[in-house]
């Protein structure tokens, strides 16, 4: 009961803040709404008992990435609104298609999960991992079952970092 109340409150907040992010005229305000949005998502993770994920969400997204957004927004100083394109709805079609796809996907998930009702098997943690905190669980999984995706992701990040440095170098 309590969890449901918390969940729906958070859901409303997250959606509301999401709308605020894209509708506020001031860029800095929308970045602030984005931070609040991320914080709400973090709370959602806590409700799901994924403290580690919640903390990382705050640390990486709210504390790291968005600070850089804010940095850029403040530094770049948007002087004039981008000029209107001849066809103002040129992106609308693309948006329509994409959102349609997402909607379809969501509907698919809902149908699928209602199709196979799994009442009591909610704690999905495999046998050997019970008794650990979810930090250990996460670490365990990352370094055993998901080692290759994990390493691929890290290489990707490295490439991105090198790329950023190369780009920054060329300018100066």
């Amino acid at each position: 009961m309590v969890e449901a109340i918390v969940f729906y409150t958070l859901a409303v907040l997250i959606l509301g803040l999401g709308v605020a992010v894209i509708t506020t005229p001031k860029t800095v305000h929308s970045v602030v709404f984005l931070v609040l949005n991320f914080l709400c998502v973090a709370v959602l993770y806590i409700v799901l008992r994924a403290e580690f994920l919640a903390v990382i969400q705050v640390l990486v997204y709210a504390g790291g990435i968005v600070v850089l957004y804010l940095f850029v927004v403040m530094l770049v100083n948007l002087k004039q609104a981008p000029e209107a394109h001849e066809d103002p709805r040129r992106l609308a079609r693309l948006g329509l298609v994409l959102s349609g796809a997402v909607l379809l996907e969501l509907a698919g998930i809902v149908v699928y999960s209602f199709g196979r009702v799994t009442p009591a098997s909610a704690p999905a943690a495999p046998g050997p991992l019970t008794g650990m905190g979810n930090t250990e669980e996460l670490g365990w999984l990352l370094y055993t079952d998901y080692l290759i995706p994990f390493e691929v992701a890290s290489v990707l990040l490295l490439v991105a970092m090198v790329g950023a440095i190369v780009l920054a170098r060329r300018q100066s």
Binding site: L39, V55, I56, F71, M74
Partner: protein, 332 residues
């Protein structure tokens, strides 16, 4: 009901009040210690030896006129000080002041990460304050602040990884217990990490010699130039609360929290007569004092030098430390 709601709420209330009061006295302590370092007396008028200055200052700030520049952004201008104070206070939720459950609000299994992540929110207060003031000096200061905080956060977090490796847990209570088991404070196991975290802590709390975001002499007070009255007081409280947090974290991670020296040596058992929380506060006090001492002694770094120190010195050392710790951990 009593255990899940009333007692934690009571603890939170007590803790918040204690933190806020100790912050005001921390300001007094700083003024006094710096005054002594500079062959002055410091505040002497309010109460005996100026002790009541700690109460007079907040009252003054509260009844001061609250000025908001006309062209400031009203929402963010108000939000900024709040955003900077709240994380500083929230962090105390996971700081254990003693081994007994009575002395901490909660002990979550990701305590240390919680502290890191919540303090990283505090940077928004500074950035937004600078931007919302719509003034040039604060803007420059807030740019400095954001760059500084992000850089040093990386250094500190990386360093803490080696501590986590040594302790094998992220829980604050767990880390102290790990030190009890090993019988050695981590400052002796991880001396490099201790120095790095302390330096990083100085930088993250914008304290001298890294007080660039509020460099009075260059940026006329930095990001809070346009603030006055209680809004300014919130920044002030946040800064000092952060200092207390850093001191507490350093005391817990590296100096055994509430443990007496050499916790496993039986011959020193008489030291247990002193309760753990006194040990803890004693250690914290030492670090608070060092913070002030450094401020009274050192000149200020320049922005680019600070960045160089962070990225080219602290971060490589931190990474090296992680590697060494990992290798040692595997070999043992």
């Amino acid at each position: 009901m009593l255990d899940t709601i009333v007692i934690p709420l009571l603890k939170i209330a007590v803790l918040l009040n204690a933190v806020l009061v100790s912050v005001t006295f921390m300001v007094l302590l700083e003024r006094k210690v710096i005054a002594w370092a500079q062959s002055r007396l410091g505040p002497m008028r309010v109460g005996p030896y100026g002790v009541l200055q700690a109460i007079a200052d907040p009252i003054k700030l509260m009844i001061k006129e609250d000025i908001r520049p006309v062209r400031a952004d009203p929402m963010l201008f108000t939000l900024a000080p709040i955003l900077s104070l709240v994380p500083a206070l929230v962090v105390f939720a996971v700081v254990p002041f003693g081994g007994d459950e009575l002395f901490y609000v909660t002990d979550i299994n990701v305590g240390l990460l919680f502290i890191i992540s919540v303090t990283s929110i505090g940077v928004y207060g500074i950035i937004l304050a600078g931007w919302a003031s719509n003034s040039k000096y604060p803007l420059l200061a807030s740019l400095r602040a954001s760059a500084q905080l992000i850089s040093y956060e990386i250094a500190v977090t990386m360093t803490l990884v080696s501590v986590i490796l040594t302790a094998g847990t992220l829980s604050m209570v767990g880390i102290v217990e790990a030190q009890q088991q090993s019988g050695l404070w981590f400052a002796f196991v991880q001396p490099v990490a201790f120095v790095l975290v302390f330096i990083g802590g100085l930088a993250e709390t914008n304290r001298a010699p890294f007080d660039l975001p509020e460099a009075e002499q260059e940026l006329t007070g930095g990001f809070h130039t346009e603030y006055s009255g209680m809004r300014f007081a919130l920044f002030f409280l946040a800064e000092y609360a952060n200092i207390i947090v850093i001191s507490a974290v350093v005391a817990i991670l590296f100096w055994g929290g509430w443990l007496r020296p050499f916790p496993n040596v039986e011959a020193l058992a008489f030291l247990d007569l002193i309760p753990g929380w006194i040990w803890f506060f004693g250690k914290m006090f030492v670090f608070l004092y060092i913070f002030i001492w450094i401020r009274a002694t050192l000149p200020r770094y320049r922005y680019d030098q600070l960045m160089r120190l962070g990225w080219k010195v602290l971060i490589p050392i931190a990474i090296g430390n992680i590697v060494v710790t990992g290798v040692v951990k595997v070999l043992l």
